[in-house]
Amino acid sequence: MISDFIKRNLSTSAIWLFIIFELLFFSIAGHYLSFSDGEFMDLGNMLLLLQQSAPIGIIAVGMTLIMVNGNIDLSVGAVFAIAGIVMLDSMTWGMFSGLGDWVIIVSWILALAAGALLGAINGLIVWKTGVDAFIVTLGSMLGYRGLVFMFNGENPTSHLNWTLVDFAEAQFLGFNTATWFLAGSVLVIWLVTRYTVHGRNAYAIGNNRTAAVNAGIRVGPHMVINFVIIGFLAALSAVVFYSGSGSVNPNDGQLYELWVITAVVLGGTKLAGGSGSVIGTLGGVIAIQLLRKGLGYIGADTSTVNLVIGLILIVVLFLDRQLNVKGAQELKV
């Protein structure tokens, strides 16, 4: 019974073991190699790490749902940039000039609605055409990015609202605003996957789509909802991030889709769909961020960091495959 439990949770718990390993490794290695005075496992450092994990993390939460479904969304980086532009630019629109700081709420709603809409477009195309989500969102990734450049050419879109900056940099119970948004997204989607009909259906569809259809589940609308959710979360990520930075560069969010997918896969979600968890994804996000920070801490440069993360991704998937193949064979007996 207990070994069964461990086996079932191995793919999720493995990432947390890996995080502990990272923490120990960087603390010890940092002792000998680091040029900075501070300890690696310093509280402030860890809090900063969580804050910096938020932009990728919030999107990765949505991606988990999409990938459990057996789909993928490559357009999240472009949606992130569009939502950022919508939020910052709408604050300067003449029609909202009388609102004072209330414009923040309106801009947020507009940005989030834009993200949800772009997600809905992805979802509807996947549903109505039956084209693979990979292809559809590859197209929309290029298309949405095109929209970003059409809006302001190569120039950044900037607007600073100090109330907004204060909000973004605020802390509550020691955690930064961005961290709270990450935690909230994880909690909500975790509840959805674990305890709601929608979540149950997501796993069923990813596991066996035909059987799900035969059980009367309306697969198309279900997928559209998931694309709306990830579009919304990509926009939420942008809203949180740009509230602080106040400037969207047209190249912002590029390669986010790949970092997000890396985090989700590291967290134990299968590309083929049908299994995975948001908690694992959170672990994946933190693991990557730790690696980036830790390698920086012991003096590695950015290119080394990417190389190491790439290698670790492959090694992790290899180990996962080994474990699962063995498990599958034992089950067949």
């Binding site: 509840l191 305890y195 709601t196 009909v197 149950r200 259906n201 796993y203 069923a204 596991n207 066996n208 035909t210 059987a211 799900a212 259809v213 035969n214 059980a215 009367g216 589940i217 309306r218 049908g274 299994s275 034992e330 089950l331 067949k332 007996v333």
Partner: protein, 501 residues
């Protein structure tokens, strides 16, 4: 009796233990050259494990394998093939986009200088093999364009590229039509004449008696003995397999029939079926019998909203219905237990309870969340009612036996209280013991008032469970038999397209 030759293949005292299970316990088996040796046993009896030992996928803990007179070690599947042991698997493993020849010689393509493929030799060698099998396609045909039966011939052709000492057929007829089976049997007979030893694994008794010389039975990983096929009968073998007697006589059909639950009038759908008319009453089992491709499954799919008819009407409780999707069918009270439970009926990676409540989980919520208690209650109810053997609801469905999986699918629909239950191939791939349990269940459900449609390709099954039998041939209903006027002969005639007056 003198034995002039040694066995083509001999297994001696094979033991294979997995953590917690003794999958094979001192199993011995020998196959003479030119002998067709049936290997039988319920699912989980150890047949597949034994074959995996033979194929080099598992290494035995104890015991020896002999090919001819020499003891051998099978280190992997390729090694096993190299030693003359060839497998024809139930599931085909072919590259559909490649030609027949490329598939036959996959991994061993003849090459000429600079590593180029020697296409001429390849096609010539393949055509020589195909000629032996008397097939209608040639070496250049794309495999994806072939029927399942012909694809199986490609698998067999692949086996013939080596000097096979023994060929193992694992449920070879599972997806074949009767005509295709005959061709397969001829090929097996040819192999036999060439002195190849054949191991024939099947659940189908008629085939065993038609094809094989000897029968060996496994039960719970133990060897139960071998019998000459000519000296035994169905009952004896079944008893060896399950350790008790099996009842396959006609079920008594003495319950009262209710109102007409479902009526179909002049239903047509493209080339699948035409002008189909039938009725099912509450409390009745209507059997659909015919060859694969006769249009039976397509009718079921239409009733379940997976297909749209061109013309015709469907009446449920006398009311005309337009069923556009499975969810609409389920709401209207029509449920389908599909042909292939693993790919169409179950979410194999999910647990028993979640599978059973999948279609109705929408109605089991407390606030935004699914109510655990309501789900477990439904699962417990149908586990007891259908006698589903599982350690608990958390068990992953993929780990259950075929019979228990099928009961989960049936339980899933019963818990929705349908009016009409359509069961497509109720016992495909299910072992003999569980088969009769499923048959009994279908009869009991009818007795309790459900209108049931059973589609089956097995005549004993359709005869056993049905009150009336619809015989289909090539998309048309040839005749509807009642329990009194049906015989095996006139049923076979009807599904072969011979209309009687």
């Amino acid at each position: 009796m003198t034995q002039p030759t040694s066995p083509a293949l001999r297994l001696e005292g094979i033991v294979k233990t997995f953590p917690g299970v003794k999958a094979l316990d001192n199993v011995s088996l020998d196959v003479m050259p030119g002998e067709v040796h049936a290997l039988m046993g319920e699912n989980g009896a150890g047949k597949s494990t034994l074959m995996k030992v033979l194929g080099g996928i598992y290494q035995p803990d104890e015991g020896l394998i002999y090919v001819g007179d020499t003891a051998v070690v099978m280190s992997n599947p390729l090694d096993s093939k190299g030693k003359g042991i060839v497998f024809i698997h139930q599931e085909l493993s072919l590259a559909e986009e490649l030609s027949v020849a490329e598939n036959v010689y996959l991994g061993e393509l003849p090459v000429k200088s600079f590593g180029r493929v020697d296409w001429e030799t390849l096609y010539k060698k393949t055509d020589t093999i195909l000629a032996k099998l008397k097939v209608s396609f040639n070496a250049r045909t794309r495999v994806g364009d072939l029927s399942i039966a012909n694809q199986q011939m490609v698998e067999i052709a692949r086996a013939l590229t080596v000097d096979a000492k023994a060929v193992i057929f694992d449920e070879p007829t599972a997806s074949l039509t009767d005509a295709e089976k005959l061709v397969l049997f001829e090929v097996i007979a040819d192999l036999k004449d060439q002195g190849v030893g054949i191991v024939y694994i099947s659940h189908r008794m008629e085939e065993i008696f038609k094809m094989t010389d000897r029968v060996s039975v496994l039960r719970d990983g133990q060897y139960q003995g071998s019998l000459l096929t000519a000296d035994t009968n169905e009952e004896e073998i079944t008893q060896m397999m399950i350790g008790r007697k099996l009842d396959l006589t006609r079920a008594p059909l003495n319950h009262e029939l209710g109102d007409i639950a479902l009526e179909v009038r002049d239903l047509s759908c493209g080339s699948s079926y035409r002008n189909v008319n039938f009725q099912v009453r509450c409390g009745e089992v209507l059997g659909f019998y015919g060859l694969v491709g006769a249009g039976r499954t397509e009718i079921a799919e239409t009733l379940f909203g997976l297909r749209q008819p061109n013309t015709g009407t469907i009446l449920l409780d006398g009311e005309e219905m337009h069923i556009r999707s499975p969810s609409a069918a389920i709401r209207a009270g029509i449920s389908l237990v599909p042909e292939d439970r693993k790919t169409q009926g179950l979410v194999l990676g999910m647990n028993c309870r979640d599978n059973m409540t999948l279609p109705q989980v929408d109605d089991m919520t407390a606030g935004p969340f699914v109510s655990d208690g309501a789900e477990v209650a439904v699962f417990d109810l149908y586990r007891d009612r259908l006698d589903i053997r599982t350690p608990g609801w958390r068990q992953t469905v993929g780990n259950l036996s075929g019979g228990n999986q099928q009961k989960i699918v049936i339980g899933k629909w019963l818990s929705m209280h349908p009016k009409v239950l359509i069961v497509d191939e109720p016992t495909r791939g299910i072992d003999v013991g569980s088969k009769s349990a499923i048959h009994k269940l279908i009869r009991e459900l009818a007795a309790s008032g459900y209108a049931i449609i059973v589609i089956s390709s097995e005549m004993p099954e359709v005869l056993h469970v049905s009150d009336r039998i619809v015989a289909m041939f090539s998309g048309e209903i040839i005749r509807t038999f009642t329990a009194e006027d049906v015989t095996e002969d006139n049923l076979i005639q009807a599904i072969s397209g011979i209309k009687s007056k």
